[in-house]
């Protein structure tokens, strides 16, 4: 009995290590954000809810299976612009439940639980599974993260790239392109390591940073990165201290608190969204330089402001692009 279970365990462990080379053996069973999924074959088609999910499928060479996309934050990654032009965009923002279902997707891949999840504004996962449509939520939005707390969810654990790699690997398995998934992960990991090495070479000790996403009004307290989301992971990896200590993903912190913490670097988000005046990164920089208090901050006086793609601050494969941008900008600042 004991021997048998050990053997099974060994076999299972072996099976878990193997897929890198092997074809997926169906039926495939896996657990995803608290729900067990089972696939008898690779899904014929997919609808994506969330740009990060869309871009992962494109990166896996699965564009021909994508029947529709939704929830766009910014332009598609340039390498996919042609591919994407031929794929129907169900909605720029939240798609309706019926528009997703009407595509008869074999799977719905989702970036955020607030679209498809317990209080999903598109639908709950049950509503999809009742119609026989499986849903896959990127683990980056549920691993160590409680989406019932805080406006954008609250993390109990520090965000890690592992959760993105896990999503890539799962989707590779589901669509029977495991080798492509592993190749993508290997590539991302080597770029991640290179960026981190570049920053580590600077030997930063006292450098700190704040990531400013946007503000509801120009002068009002801004939305900044919390201490456990992707920007926090980046700061941690690159040797920068985060001046914000909140577990919320994007807490509101006062300029008074930020200015007194006086971070050495300010990262401002660049986005296509123009809902708030502060969505425009040039307006953000203009504010930093003209406000009587923020203009006195070291980062502003010494022009240590980095402009960064906003979507690369959300959990996504773009996090690696962000890491590279940051690692490329830091050496010019002469920080210690």
């Amino acid at each position: 009995m004991f021997l048998k279970s050990t053997l099974t365990g060994l076999l299972l462990a072996g099976a878990a290590m193997l897929p890198a080379a092997a074809e997926t053996s169906y039926p495939l069973k896996l657990s995803n954000c608290g729900i067990g999924l089972s696939f008898d074959e690779a899904p014929e088609s997919a609808v994506t809810v969330g740009q990060a999910a869309t871009e992962i499928l494109y990166s896996l060479g699965l564009a021909d299976k994508v029947a529709g996309t939704s929830v766009w934050f910014t332009e598609i990654l340039p390498e996919f612009s042609e591919t994407n032009a031929g794929i129907e965009r169900l909605a720029d923002n939240d798609p309706s439940f019926e528009s997703v279902v009407a595509k008869r997707p074999g799977i719905v891949t989702v970036q955020y639980e607030w679209h498809v999840g317990p209080q999903g504004i598109v639908a709950t996962r049950e509503q999809f599974s009742d119609l026989g449509i499986p849903t896959y939520i990127l683990p980056s939005d549920c691993t160590g993260k409680d989406n019932s707390k805080g406006s954008d969810g609250t993390r109990s654990d520090m965000y890690a790239m592992e959760s993105i790699y896990r999503g890539v690997s799962d989707l590779g398995q589901i669509f029977d392109v495991a080798d492509k998934g592993e190749a993508l992960i290997t590539d991302l990991k080597s770029r991640e390591a290179a960026a981190i090495d570049k920053a580590k070479a600077l030997g930063l000790k006292d450098a700190s940073a704040v990531f400013w996403f946007s503000s509801a009004e120009m002068d009002i307290d801004p939305y900044v990165a919390g201490r456990k989301g992707p920007p926090a992971y980046m700061m941690n990896a690159l040797g920068l201290k985060n001046v914000v200590d909140s577990d919320e993903e994007w807490p509101v912190v006062s300029w008074e608190t930020i200015a007194r913490a006086n971070p050495s670097v300010i990262v401002v988000a660049k986005m296509d969204r123009r809902r708030f005046e502060a969505d425009d990164y040039e307006k953000k920089i203009g504010f930093l330089k003209s406000d009587p208090v923020t203009s006195q901050m070291d980062a502003v006086k010494n022009d240590r402001i980095i402009v960064l793609d906003a979507h690369a601050m959300d959990p996504s494969i773009r996090n690696i692009d962000a890491l590279e941008t940051l690692a490329g900008a830091l050496p010019k600042f002469g920080l210690k």
Partner: protein, 348 residues
Amino acid sequence: MTEAAIPCAAAWRSRLILRLTLGLAVLVLAVLVGVVLGETPLPPSQVATVLAQKLWGAASGVDPIDAGIIWNYRLPRTLVAAACGAGLALSGLVLQTLVRNALADPYLLGVSAGASTGAVAVTIMGVGAGAIGISAGAFAGAALAFGIVAALARAAGGGSAQLVLAGIAGSQLFNALTSFFIAKSANAEQARGIMFWLLGNLSGVRWPDVALAVPVALAGLLACAVHIRALDAFSFGASAAASLGIAVRRVMVVLLGAVTLMTAVMVSLVGAIGFVGLVVPHAMRILVGARHGALVPASALAGAVFMIAADVVSRVLIPGQVVPIGVVTALVGAPAFALILIRNRSRA
């Protein structure tokens, strides 16, 4: 009768002056407290140094960031809170008197509902494409809502009951529009930006806002001050006021105009902060009596002090986090109001 009333009026007046002086002193103290207490600790001596430097050009070696926080963030914020509190309290007082309804508050005339609609139109519907701020949109919405309410009240006959009903209709209409806009195109993230603002937010206040809020509050105070006799007369109803020789229509237009201007400006600057306009005039009626000669200055002062206090509490209640000021005014205002009501009953 007049002979007996004169010494009594003189005593009343000197007591009023004493009380107002005391009230002003409390207001100055409140402003100082508002500047000293904030999200991050700053020693009072440093605050004193910075104020001395800015006001009298005294030398200061204070870190420019700390100095900026005191002079450019906290002081304007406190002054706007004071102007806002005074403006809302006066608006509430005037409306309660004009429409003779104890439940009247500054948002009775649809101004707050209109402001929300304007803010939502800018934020969610993208009116103005990011070029107009929430404030401008809110002001436009507030003015539009009041225009509709006033026109409706006039069409319905122009009495105070008609004004209350028109205000309710106008508020419902604009609240429905706001809900419609949100349902039509907002996602959770957009709605959050609006909520943040609707519950009241003073964090974006800077000197230019002071230059708008303080003159508007003072103009409102002046408008009330020159109509004290009319307000006293209105306490007995519009027809009684008319029989006392008050130009009812002109006074209504001037005072409602002042109320709308004050409320719309305050709402557009800091959001719709509840409870101040409703509670402060009632509390002052209990403390200084029903005569508007005392009620008007007392309400303005008490509203200003109350709002500063609420803002300070909102900043220090949870370390590292600012509680929406509307939550604080309601949390503090409701029990305070209850206490005043009970005390008043036992005294009577």
